[in-house]
Symmetry: C2
Amino acid sequence: MVGVRQFDEDAVIATALDVFWRKGLHDATMQDLAEATGVQRGSLYNAYGDKEAMFLRAFDRYTGQFLEAAGNALAQGDTAAGLRHFFDMIIVNMTDGSPPRGCLTTRTALDAAISSADVRQRVQDVLTRLEQLIGKALGTAPGKRSAADANRLARVIVTYTRGLAVMERAGYSRKQLRDLAATFIDAVVANA
Amino acid sequence: MVGVRQFDEDAVIATALDVFWRKGLHDATMQDLAEATGVQRGSLYNAYGDKEAMFLRAFDRYTGQFLEAAGNALAQGDTAAGLRHFFDMIIVNMTDGSPPRGCLTTRTALDAAISSADVRQRVQDVLTRLEQLIGKALGTAPGKRSAADANRLARVIVTYTRGLAVMERAGYSRKQLRDLAATFIDAVVANA
DNA sequence: GTCAAACTTGACAATTGTGTCAAGAATGAT
DNA sequence: ATCATTCTTGACACAATTGTCAAGTTTGAC
């Protein structure tokens, strides 16, 4: 190996994730990425191909972190407690930063109509895997709920998390989102 | 009046709404609007000022229609039936067209981080007014629910509609969205 | 030390979009 | 018929972005 790469690829992708998270796939430019990473545009093209390739790498990193955190949160305490931790986690996730960065998956889903099939697929994958995580958490509760019901409910919960992400973008505060989550959990889960 | 405008402003805004609905504020170009309306770019600038001004007019038209339809749907039958009609309406609204156009408000909310304060305000206004409509519909149910609870629940329902809009963009079909709505209504409203 | 491979750099071409403007065309009022 | 006003048209200037590339630089291997 000669002419060795002069930057840490992992660090670049981590920084790129931050840029995409703040600006979105569509609005983040290679210029933005170059400035944020300190690597010249040409080098980024050389190393990754194009913007979408960089996005896919960054998004994979994001979903890995996200799904792991979701699984951990859901595993804390009983089903209801797990859900509360889960909602807490995603609300912090989307209201973090200044200004808050929102939910990258949701933003990407709405960009996705104009994105590649690859991007759309990743979005679907995250949602599916999240649904499975939640379904599993619901399924472990003692009896009372059929597996089919747990899966239906899991999808409803995923849908609600998407709703929270939109509300965040519409200007609702972390506190308001927490209220929304609490009311939802009380209504849907307590008696399920 | 001399040198009379050679196009129907109302028809232009209606067509512009369709363009914005399909492409979003950010991705619809003046070129798109000119082609769709058959009015030259220059004339559109002359008549409306800029793209955002056209969007605001189109969006106002949209929200007027939308909120009226929502009110009508909610008024049909008892509270539960009204909600079912309401969800039916919004699901048809977002899955209509080929390809489906999705929910303009939600798309705009996610664009809004990069839009003007005017645009953001409109989005908040629609959501607030929708919440009020739903709160009123819930409030008319006989006793059992305090006004405060009705308002909290109304906001939860608005949030869920936003979630459905995201799921639609993620690729869920009209049928799947209807399932999601039915499960939600059963869980949240039946026992509330 | 020399070399070849790989990376870096800055410039370039092409595209797309916005907003402006001067010249021209159309029209109701007189 | 003429005119002043308003709208229309096409061209223009400007800016942002993408993706490419040739020339230059670096570095490990020999």
